[in-house]
Symmetry: C2
Subunit: 416 residues, 2 copies
Amino acid sequence: MNANQIPHIVIIGAGFAGLEVARGLAKSRVRITLIDKNNHHLFQPLLYQVAIAGLLPSQIAQPVRTIFRKQKNLTFQMGEVSAINFDEKYVKLNGSVIAYDYLVLAVGGRTNFFGFDTIEKSGFQLKDLDTAVKTRNHLLSMFEQASHEADTEKRKAMLTFVIVGGGPTGVETAGALAELITHVMKKDYPRLNLNDARVVLLEAGANLISSYPDELRQATVKLLKKKNVDIRLNSKLDSYNGVQVKLADGTQIETQTVIWTAGVKATEIVDELSIDKASGGRIRIEPTLQLPQHPETFVIGDAAFLLDEKGQPLPMISTVAIQQGVFTAKSIINLMTGKPLGHFHYKDPGLLATIGRNAAVARIFGISFSGFIAWVIWVFLHIYRIIGFRNRIIVLFNWAWDYVFYDNQVRLITKE
Amino acid sequence: MNANQIPHIVIIGAGFAGLEVARGLAKSRVRITLIDKNNHHLFQPLLYQVAIAGLLPSQIAQPVRTIFRKQKNLTFQMGEVSAINFDEKYVKLNGSVIAYDYLVLAVGGRTNFFGFDTIEKSGFQLKDLDTAVKTRNHLLSMFEQASHEADTEKRKAMLTFVIVGGGPTGVETAGALAELITHVMKKDYPRLNLNDARVVLLEAGANLISSYPDELRQATVKLLKKKNVDIRLNSKLDSYNGVQVKLADGTQIETQTVIWTAGVKATEIVDELSIDKASGGRIRIEPTLQLPQHPETFVIGDAAFLLDEKGQPLPMISTVAIQQGVFTAKSIINLMTGKPLGHFHYKDPGLLATIGRNAAVARIFGISFSGFIAWVIWVFLHIYRIIGFRNRIIVLFNWAWDYVFYDNQVRLITKE
């Protein structure tokens, strides 16, 4: 058997979904080419921690080459795929053509601003390391500027932080930012009146974390209020000009900081594909996760659109991506050996959101937790899931330190 | 006694020199305003480690506000001083006028390209966190690009890294980069022939680390050669166009990476002052470290020019800056209490340069060391000097890990 007869599997995207496919094929007689536009895998659920100066970029990211050092059937290529030809089975990357036998599209999503161009321009988002670091630098700069601003109104505007979107990311960011102000910035800026500082959480709907059970939603509101987060439900954004937010009901909020966490849509490469798409530009797939008419192509993670048993679209979250990745690796093995494919069923492992330093809400095995116990569960689950043993130790050490000393480790402003 | 009668001391620069002045006045009845354009103090001697992906920015930098949290007589202000009026005793910062009773100019230096505009444009430097991270991203990108470059000559050019300047920074960078290639990149890029990779160290003079004793210079050459660093002595740069270096003797080196470590000069604010300056734009000062004609103004660190007992200018290194800072704090106390000022004398604490993972050269108490023992001394001295207990533990942990596993912790490419 020569090298040409070994099936070539191309995986686009080194997020949770793509990583699991590659791992699941580690012992198979295949050639894998894993492609990503970054050289690192990102532990996206903790990205907001980088934005609020709680964790370092390197603690939630790891080079893909390091992850797969020992997997000899895999080659990593960094770059952006410029075209995909499903009929002739090749992708274009860095000027080369790469032919495949099986293709896994796990390209993830990007921030959906729903047409709010001014927010895309003047606001902040949490999509990758660069946008998170940019957010951190801006947040810290606001405190510096406020520290030498004599005008009270201007100072208050500098210390007003608006977070748009009451989903898990918005809730976690609001809680963590409120704690940064109360516990850390108060010490760093002893002469600044931080009672002027405000964290405003805007949610267009009637509830925060609307997909969670009611008791957890209530616990979340209670925990955020305790941390002085100003929660505005049924508050639709109307406009933002870089210094003032206007809501649909006419309310105005003076602020230089709007962090948008309110939506995800498909990435650029998916936009260009002439295939059937659902809301947010996500690709409609078969229950086997295959692309219709192209059984050798799988689409998984945030880029894929599939309904669950209740007719609801599967959420764009890491646990779905991971399970689909594991499932797809098995499906490819089945295809290669002529076995039939099963249907993908998502098993909900529970819900979890953290609200600052020592509080969280969780639902695991049908039981709801809130407060400190939920937070301890959250810490251990997240540390366990962070890739890399060294990172796990350092993150645990940092969190233990923060917990004991009420400190946040990195408040470096790295770009002006 | 009211607040106006408490002397106001303005310190510009939170480098080694400025920090020591502020610390030395912690128990004095004074008001201190410490100003820096960054919000952090930088442990500059380890900046090259950030460039070669050995340490994280946050491990060698710490927010100034955190350092001085407990020093109640100090206020920190982030910003760039736009003007200094020595006669009327005020500085301009962020649009405000700040009057002082005593001024300490500790503004440090910046890279001196000696008129090589093309290097300033296309080359890399190690001056602050941003330039070091930019260098790291570029170095790592070169390996990525080389990994999918089919043309052998182009690939070799991508893997050729030229370091200009055979001083301690150039030597340390060359040694560490050579080790990154041999021990870490070989594992990350198993399909890339890293025998094509080259580290070239250019020195215009006849010796590396020319200010060190001869036996250490020889040991350095030996250690670098063992790591396959291509040392070119008496090699003057003629030009660089972004893809090719030309030397004065006509030699051409194809490379996309030139790291310039060959010079330091005064910062922008010093350029604009109409006071007496020496080579590199450094300010000529009295043996008391005072500015001539302005006894209430002290100039210290890289910005100051002073001859030692042998008539040699004091070097622009951290140990000089630290000793001058300590001395200046005492001098200000003497001035306030009407005591006479002494002359500054630099006490050479020894020399130390590291050459990669387990080798260094050192001269302490008149004894020369090289190899592993010198490296152990270097590790302990540097860790001890890094500010912040938490950072010390993490840096030690990372180095121990790297030493055991031959790994470098962060190889994230964060900007394209």
